[in-house]
């Protein structure tokens, strides 16, 4: 190794660093959740649009379900809406909508306007439950197994590709495990 090859090697290393950096730049702001493989946070929330009714984590035990954090102010939630609608049509698992930091009337209007893919919608108006789930963006989606453990989280708008590649295989695995 002479004095000419050292700068060349340094340059090549820098180029590799640049390429790797550019490759991950769009996923870099995503924070891995410490909640994966942990029990889903306990919650007991009013059902959106039916005052007096509440739903808790306990009542959902025994089945896999998606928890989708959304809000009427969230533009990306409209982007993922068709994918959720498609998933709902296939009737493979329960989809819980968690409407957070929103106004009840805005949320109901949003569902009437775009359609309601959710089995149940819960309203977390002050966002306290979203803090327990470590939600920092919208939409965010969690997959919870029948034992109430979070097995998967996706940050950003869901697409049918992601649902088919990541979520459905996990749900299928739960079905065979419980049988």
């Amino acid at each position: 190794m002479n004095s000419r090859t050292i700068p060349l090697i340094a340059f090549i290393l820098l180029v590799i660093l640049l390429v790797v950096g550019l490759g991950i730049s769009d996923r870099k702001t995503l924070i891995p959740s410490p909640l994966i493989d942990k029990p889903a946070p306990a919650f007991s929330l009013p059902v959106l649009g039916s005052p007096g009714r509440t739903m808790s984590k306990e009542s959902l035990l025994g089945q896999p379900y998606l928890v989708n954090f959304w809000a009427s102010w969230c533009v990306s939630c409209r982007v993922e809406h068709p994918a959720l609608t498609e998933l709902a049509k296939r009737n493979l698992l329960t989809i819980i909508g968690l409407n957070f930091r929103d106004e009840t009337t805005d949320a109901i209007n949003w569902l009437t306007q775009f359609g309601d893919p959710y089995d149940v919608n819960l309203s977390d108006l002050d966002g306290r439950v979203s803090i327990d789930f470590g939600v920092y963006a919208a939409p965010e989606t969690f997959l919870v197994d029948p034992a109430g453990t979070i097995v998967y989280k996706y940050i950003g708008p869901l697409t049918m590709e992601i649902i088919e590649a990541d979520i459905l295989p996990l749900v299928a695995a739960m079905g065979t495990a419980s049988r």
Partner: protein
Amino acid sequence: MKMYSLLTGLLLFSAIVFAQEPLVFENQQQQDRFDRLTQELRCLVCQNQNLADSDAPLAHDLRREVHKMLQSGQSNEQIKQFLVDRYGDFVLYRPPLQKNTYLLWLAPLILFLGGALVVGSSIKKRSALLDADQHSQKRD
């Protein structure tokens, strides 16, 4: 007309700003603790800002949570752990020393030692060259 709508907009905006209740502290000491804590915690929405500076709704809510925990007498460690449990170590501006951060913490030392090695060897080489040079000059 444009001016009028601008003014209306500003007025509406100021209403939103004033709608957020200011946090009340029991004493100066508690406020100092709050200030120090929120400066060390990262806002998850605008990730290059801390909780103290950020104006994101989440930062506002998390400041309120931190305030509530301070009021209920929790320690700084408990408050940080509350946030780490939900958002991960990323929320801390001062990452803890652990397996996946050894490289982060030790990199400056490694770079320093590597630099020292390079400088040391090149000084040695040069002084050897200089010595050889002087010898050959003497011989001439």
